[in-house]
């Protein structure tokens, strides 16, 4: 049987191998990967893709464990892609997300894959989009993508999913000022986690802050309905509201066609990203090959040539190649 068929059959090992393939940096694999993805795209599933982003330690994984258990309890199949930040220094990484997803990882209706981010933009690793295509073809009802949200990353992450949610902790309302515009633009749902114990008051306050910030930017075009929800991942409260909100947004977006148009926009985005990536790799290869940067920087330091002259000389040379 071919890999694509096995995936469509939902074979666990095949899905896993396919994700390895689409994440691979080996040129041969990239060719295989493209073939596979084109086959799978022709057999789309019915998955709803939801992104969960947020600062380190707000409880993204714990929330997914909690919300996920709730969903698999309703006989839904759940695919999870957790992007783990890897160490910049050593290149290696410790993928510890699963220590926070103990219960759902046992469930036969889940598929959980961790991926080291390799320092790529937005904490989204190469292949995350393709991996979600694989899980979709394999028949998962929901695909969750966990990413660490830092600054710009929301743009990339939100372009992967149908619904993008930002998880924040109690007390993070103060940070709102600076990032207000960015997040309200890209997030559909704001989930204020840790609404439990003596954090409750602070959590409610944070939720209120977000609500007022949102009403301020309501006129926004990218995503119409925005919700602020209070949950506790640890006490598993607020899960009903989260799923209801997700389903409502999906329904509404499907009705007004924005569901499909968003997917279309995303395709455009990924096309240009892919092209950029390929070009960038190509340019980097050329720069490395030319090997002249070191030579020029020495000359700049020695005062033999000005920086701008050096830049011009190098780019001229690269472009003429």
């Amino acid at each position: 049987m071919k890999l694509a068929e096995k995936i469509i059959n939902g074979e666990r090992a095949a899905i896993a191998k396919a994700i390895t393939l689409v994440e691979s940096s080996k040129p041969d694999d990239r060719i295989e990967s493209r073939k596979l993805i084109s086959q799978l795209i022709d057999n789309p599933g019915k998955s709803i893709r939801v992104g969960f982003s947020g600062p380190p330690g707000v409880g993204k994984s714990t929330f997914i464990e909690s919300f996920g258990s709730y969903l698999v309890g309703k006989e839904l199949k759940l695919g999870i892609l957790a992007i783990d930040p890897s160490s910049q220094i050593t290149g290696g990484s410790i993928l510890g997300d699963k220590t926070r997803m103990i219960e759902i990882s046992k469930n036969p209706n889940t598929f959980i894959r961790s991926t080291p981010s390799r320092g790529s933009l937005g904490g989204i690793s190469n292949g995350t989009r393709e991996a979600s295509i694989i899980l979709d073809a394999a028949g998962y009802d929901y695909i969750f993508i966990e990413t660490v949200g830092v600054g710009q990353s929301e743009v990339v992450a939100s372009n992967l999913v149908d619904i993008f949610s930002l998880i924040v902790g109690p007390g993070s309302g103060d940070e709102l000022q600076g990032i207000k515009k960015g997040i309200t633009e890209y997030a559909d749902i704001f989930i204020v986690n840790k609404n439990d114990g003596n954090l409750k008051i602070e959590a409610s306050k944070t939720a209120a802050d977000y609500k007022s910030a949102i009403s301020y930017y309501k006129k926004n075009e990218v995503s119409s309905s925005k919700e602020v929800l209070l949950v506790s991942a640890i006490e598993q409260t607020g899960m009903d509201e989260v799923i209801n909100t997700i389903q409502e947004i999906v329904l509404q977006n499907k009705k007004n066609n924005s569901f499909e148009s968003k997917r279309c926009e995303q395709l455009k985005f990924w096309l240009s990203e892919e092209i950029k990536n390929i070009m960038q790799l190509d340019i980097q290869r050329k720069i490395d090959k030319a090997g002249s940067i070191g030579h020029f920087s020495d000359r700049i330091i020695n005062g033999d040539i000005s920086m701008y002259d050096a830049i011009e000389t190098i780019t001229d040379k690269l472009q003429s190649e």
């Binding site: 090992a13 994440e23 290696g92 410790i94």
Partner: protein, 717 residues
């Protein structure tokens, strides 16, 4: 200062420099604690003492020189060997033999299912019953355990923390049914839950309800069991998990403060319970440091308790049990361990411990045999009877060096204690995972020192024995033990008054809901022949079960090897691997069953990551089936099983089976690390295990072997 001293000192400095070609100011040795050891100490150093009171004598404030005035001159320390294995019957035989041979106190080691509140018939504990301690399911087992051991005369220490309520209850009921009233029971229950969350990993409930249970026990025993130590505040496990002595000292005392507060929050007066708090420290190989640690611990505790408003002198005094370090003992050339243990025992005695366990030389291989246990016990008998160390109290008092070390340790520990207090106390710190991470960092540093040869371990990284001796091991047939236990459970469940059991269990659940003291309810349930597992579950209904999330250190191991050839070689191999395979070698490191020894797994994980591997870290207590799912979904190249609590012969075959079930074509490599007696190697290789890494394995060499095996495996495909 007399001029004569100055003159002598100058001359000494000159001579030192002549002999060593180095100024004595520069000749400083480092320690794990970051305390700098000078080549010589003088009376100048005594001027720097502030915690230590020069004029104090044994049994006097601040008790640096010992809790009692007479110490061993009146009565030597108690030889208290920690033991337990297989069934209650077999452990009982073992205890009785030991008591006949000169051991004084008992100390019970329970198996891991009991620790974690599971009955022996629970599917989750298939590989663990009776393996690393004695299996106790009901009070009937407890009665067998103490058969012919009079509980009004014998002081019994029990290492129990997670399932502390049912186990202490079973002890009380066993006593009652031996006709010993509970107010006559003497001994100690460990009941120290905070260090479970940090390092020992036999917790059941989340931190808050667990702390409530600790306080319940302190409250109950302070009223009803006046001869019983309600808690043994333990640093031992921290050092064994990798903490240096400052961390061990600081965290232990900070834990103690937290327990004092918990008990006081019940409305108890500090002097009602503080005299029954006891401590437990590890004694490692750093000879003088360990002596100083015990002296510093007493010094600091008296200060802490005075600040709590204690008036009774007994409340101010830190009494402690000690155990020599297991982690200092090696699998290689194991008879060396007898020597190590002897020196450590000597440290404990010079530090003034009240009781002592000495480890057996087969520590890194399996549970002790009768023979190795005899030698371990004799180590203490010889110390007591032949060396003369009992003839005078605190013989090292006044030693410039030891007094300075005592002072420095006190100061450093005090700084950390103050930090934790600022954070809001140990419960908060533990919940945030800070102490655990610090201890893992320290453990990783220690490993790096050994792997780089910077620290010598005789027989392991230097002076290896070309003729490794083979030693006998204690073998426990866990299927037999499990079958025996299941039969006993079935017969008890068949004959007990089921209505009464159910009522007492639901009373217990309600008591938890209403926040009442739980011990009396638990005693009632146990008396009705409820099992340990049933009592634990009755509380789980209210409190839930705790799952730990764990953080990992990064870069600590690698830093020690910046220009190391072997390390760089592995890193290069990893990078080469990525180029030709499109991704890095990816390894899933797992702990299966109830084995909570995570030191090795965590160190290996962080070190492998430092060499560039992608390492998936599984949670504790995974079942083989969950591991297989995890491994296959993440398409890892290899699974590394870390197993120390002797479950490997059940759990590894289960894993291999589960892998095949999930993916019949699976070519995944599996290797095993941890405590594996050599006798079991063939068994594991027959299961298609690719490599076995025993205690003392150099991690860089292990990593190289792993990547080579993975590469070879990929070529074969």
């Amino acid at each position: 200062m007399t001029d004569k001293f100055r003159e002598n000192f100058d001359n000494w400095q000159k001579s030192f420099e002549k002999e060593t070609k180095q100024s004595s100011d520069k000749a400083i040795s480092d320690t794990d604690e970051g305390i700098e050891i000078k080549p010589v100490y003088t009376k100048d150093d005594l001027k720097k003492l502030s915690f230590v009171e020069e004029n104090s004598l044994p049994g006097q404030w601040p008790y640096t020189r010992g809790p009692k005035a007479s110490m061993y001159t009146n009565r030597p320390w108690t030889i208290r060997q920690y033991a337990g294995f297989s069934t209650a019957e077999e452990s009982n035989e073992f205890y009785k033999k030991n008591l006949e041979s000169g051991q004084k106190g008992l100390s019970v080691a329970f198996d891991l299912p009991t620790h974690r509140g599971y009955d022996s018939d629970d599917d989750l504990v298939m590989g663990d019953v009776g393996k690393a301690g004695v299996a106790i399911d009901t009070v009937e087992d407890m009665k067998i355990l103490f058969n012919e051991i009079p509980l009004d005369k014998m002081s019994v220490s029990m290492t129990m923390n997670g399932a502390v309520l049912p186990v202490l209850s079973a002890f009380v009921v066993a006593g009652e049914e031996q006709n010993v009233k509970k107010n006559l029971l003497s001994g100690t229950i460990q009941n120290d839950i905070l260090k479970e969350f940090m390092v020992r990993n036999t917790y059941i409930y989340p931190p808050e309800p667990s702390m409530k249970i600790v306080a319940d026990i302190i409250e109950f025993t302070s009223k009803e069991m006046p001869k019983f130590n309600s808690i043994s505040i333990s640093g031992y496990h921290m050092q064994e998990a990798g903490a240096d002595n400052v961390l061990e000292l600081a965290y232990t005392l900070a834990d103690g403060m937290e327990y004092v507060r918990a008990a006081m929050s019940k409305g108890l007066d500090v002097d009602d319970f503080a005299p029954r708090l006891s401590f437990f420290f590890a004694i490692g190989t750093d000879f003088f440091m360990e002596i100083a640690k015990l002296r510093a611990a007493r010094t600091l505790w008296s200060k802490i308790m005075r600040d709590f408003g204690a008036k009774n002198e007994k409340s101010l005094i830190l009494r402690t049990h000690c155990q020599t370090s297991g982690v200092s003992l090696t699998e290689k050339d194991p008879y060396n361990n007898i020597i190590r243990t002897s020196y450590e025992a000597m440290s404990a005695i010079l530090g003034g411990t009240q009781s002592l366990h000495t480890n057996s030389f087969d520590e890194a291989i399996a549970l002790p045999t009768d023979e190795s246990a005899r030698i371990a016990r004799n180590t203490q008998l010889i110390l007591q009877n032949e060396t003369g160390v009992t003839k005078t109290v605190d013989p090292l008092a006044g030693s410039y060096f030891v007094e300075s070390l005592t002072e420095e340790l006190s100061q450093k520990a005090w700084e950390i204690i103050e930090e934790i207090e600022e954070l809001g106390g140990m419960t908060k710190a533990v919940k945030a995972g800070i102490p655990k991470l610090k201890i893992e960092e320290s453990a990783t540093k220690k490993q790096a020192k050994v792997d780089s040869g910077n620290r010598v371990v005789v027989g392991v990284n230097k002076f290896k024995n070309p003729h490794e001796p083979s030693v006998d091991v204690r073998v426990i047939d866990n299927n037999r033990v499990r079958d025996d236990q299941i039969k006993k459970i079935e017969s008890i469940k068949g004959s007990r008054n089921q209505k009464a059991v159910e009522k007492s269990l639901s009373d217990l659940t309600n008591a938890a809901k209403e926040n009442l003291n739980l011990l009396a309810y638990s005693i009632e349930a146990i008396k009705n022949r409820a099992t340990i597992g049933e009592v634990s579950k009755a509380l789980e209904e209210v409190y839930g079960r705790h799952f730990a999330t764990s953080l990992s250190v990064s870069g600590v191991y690698g830093k020690h090897f910046e220009n190391d050839e072997d390390f760089m070689n592995v890193k290069d191999k990893v990078e080469g691997f990525e180029k030709s395979n499109g991704r890095r070698p990816r390894v899933l490191i797992v702990k299966m069953g109830q084995d909570g020894h995570d030191r090795g797994a965590k160190i290996v994980a962080t070190s492998f990551a430092d060499m560039g591997f992608d390492v998936d870290m599984g949670p504790l207590f995974q079942s083989p089936k969950d591991v297989a799912k995890d491994a296959i979904e993440n398409d890892v190249h290899a699974i590394g099983v870390s197993t120390l609590a002797a479950g490997h012969k059940t759990l590894v075959p289960e894993l291999m089976k589960s892998l095949k079930e999930l993916d019949p074509n699976s070519k995944m490599i599996v290797f095993v690390g941890g405590v594996i007696p050599e006798q079991d190697y063939d068994f594991l290789y027959k299961q298609n295990i690719s490599a076995i890494f025993g205690p003392g394995s150099n991690i860089i060499e292990s990593a190289e072997k792993v990547i080579d095996l993975i590469s070879k495996n990929l070529e074969l495909k």
